[in-house]
């Protein structure tokens, strides 16, 4: 087997494994969210389908599969069909360049646990997330529905407003690690939790987490898909599998954001104390913790009104993150960090 074919085979295996993992995690997360929210609200949640209700995602999937797929009259067919596709493609592409663990030694070769290692890793993720805004805009526009259009415009305005803060919160981390590649940034956090970027860049961690929550439209920033508002926002006219695709894209975005939080701020796959070898297990535990925090926020905080949301993004987070960049740059220049 030529080296090129070997590389291709390894990449194909990695792609298959990661997509499988993501789909499994997406189903598990829908179940976990409903059970945890129920526990927080002093009720039970789904517990009938299968043991502990674990087959609930399967039941949901079967239900959505058999629903009738409608396309509203007067809708732009091409855009209507393309919007969920763009959502899913951008969601999965973004998670392709994220590393999941240290370089493993398998069958006598070094296998980095990352599908593609780009020179401009974080910028690539930013670029692909920017393209994800189009799925929302086009879904809203193509629905031929006033509420859909308004919901789509609002939602996409929210997304690209917070995208700016999201990108800028990474600048401090990039300055500390002197590289755009995520593997380097994780490497710079080795050796104990006092070297994690959560401790070195607390303001950036806060703004990243707030901006990420808004970017994926989670509570408290989920006005655009709350049931009481604007019917259902940009996905009003979507049913059955297309709706399932939009939901899947949203959850994969949440997972991407959680994985980035762990890699950029929580030390990636390193154990909090030095001396214990790094492994993908610590990575998985940390991602689970971050996803739990997302669900916890949903069960606890009230949602912001749209103008409060935009004001928070532009008037509070953006100055904070700019301040963080200035202070970090000054400290790096002075040789402190």
């Amino acid at each position: 087997m030529t080296p090129f074919l070997e590389e291709l085979a390894i990449a194909a295996v990695k792609v298959g494994a990661i997509i499988g993992l993501l789909l499994g995690l997406f189903s598990f997360m829908t179940w976990a969210e409903r059970r945890l929210l129920a526990l927080m609200q002093f009720r039970l949640g789904p517990n009938r389908t299968g043991p502990l209700g674990l087959l609930q995602p399967v039941a949901d999937g079967i239900k959505l599969f058999f629903k009738e797929e409608t396309i509203p009259e007067g809708a732009h067919r091409g855009l209507f069909l393309a919007a969920p596709v763009i959502a899913v493609v951008t969601a999965f592409t973004a998670i392709a360049v994220v590393p999941y663990g240290p370089t493993l030694e398998l069958f006598g070769r070094q296998v980095p646990l990352q599908i593609a290692s780009l020179d401009v890793g974080l910028l690539f993720i930013f670029a692909v997330t920017s393209l994800g805004v189009y799925s929302v805009v086009l879904a809203g526009y193509a629905s031929n529905n006033k509420f859909g259009l308004l919901g789509g415009l609002r939602s996409s305005a929210q997304m690209f407003s917070y995208e700016l803060t999201l990108g800028m919160s990474w600048v401090g981390v990039i300055m500390l690690a002197q590289s755009f590649q995520i593997a380097d940034i994780v490497g710079a956090q080795a050796g104990g939790f006092w070297r994690w970027n959560l401790a070195l860049q607390p303001l950036a961690a806060f703004t990243y987490f707030a901006a990420a929550t808004a970017e994926v439209s989670r509570t408290p920033f989920d006005l655009t898909e709350a049931e009481q508002e604007l019917v259902a926002g940009f996905h009003t006219e979507y049913s059955s599998m297309r709706f399932a695709l939009l939901q899947m894209a949203e959850y994969v975005n949440i997972i991407t954001v959680a994985v980035l939080a762990v890699n950029l701020f929580l030390g990636g796959w390193h154990f909090p104390f030095p001396g214990v070898p790094a492994s993908p297990l610590w990575f998985a535990l940390k991602v689970a913790a971050v996803l739990f925090v997302f669900i916890w926020l949903r069960g606890t905080l009230p949602r912001l009104r749209y103008d409060q949301l935009m004001a928070f993004g532009w008037k509070v987070l953006l100055p904070l993150v700019t301040l963080n960049i200035l202070v970090t740059a000054a400290l790096v220049q002075a040789g402190v960090l």
Partner: protein, 163 residues
């Protein structure tokens, strides 16, 4: 492999740019322009500048075109209809454009090449170093002030006059 990808992306870019100018519905023009911009980003990556490729998608396809789409949707722009330009004018326009691109092409191809480097691939940290170096630092800061001015100007121009 690189060359095949380049020709594919180039053909796609040319095709979608013709859709941009020929399609009467401006929203479809905008979508075709987005496709063109993404193809160009791919070509930038192939030409050894991954940083510019990423910036092209982030700034152009991800921000400027979203702005275009927003304005098109909010102004509810109708597709162009009614009598277009006369056929003679259209033919003259196309002929002039072909002449322009032929002249440009011949001038560019004869340009000075300098010491070309095979397998040129600019690491992004070098970009940052050059941008903040003496030759470009002033321009960098000036462009930042320019964007601030454009931001304020756009808000003032588009603001509705309150009664």
């Amino acid at each position: 492999m690189d060359a095949a990808l380049f020709y594919l992306l180039g053909a796609l870019a040319l095709g979608s740019s013709i859709v941009v100018i020929a399609q009467p519905n401006p929203i479809r023009s905008a979508l075709a322009l987005i496709v063109t911009l993404c193809c160009l980003a791919g070509i930038f990556g192939l030409l050894g500048s991954p940083f510019i490729a990423a910036l092209q998608v982030i700034v152009y396809a991800g921000a400027i075109m979203v702005l275009f789409l927003f304005v098109l949707m909010l102004l509810n722009v109708e597709p162009e209809r009614g009598p277009g330009r006369s056929r003679q004018l259209t033919f003259a326009a196309v002929a002039l454009a072909v002449a322009l691109s032929a002249q440009l092409g011949s001038v560019l191809v004869r340009g000075d090449r300098g010491a070309g480097v095979e397998g040129f691939r600019a690491p992004s940290v070098d970009m940052a170093r050059v941008l903040f170096s003496e030759s470009f630092l002033y321009a960098f800061e000036a462009v930042a002030v320019l964007i601030l001015a454009a931001l304020v100007g756009a808000v003032v121009l588009a603001k509705r006059e309150l009664p």
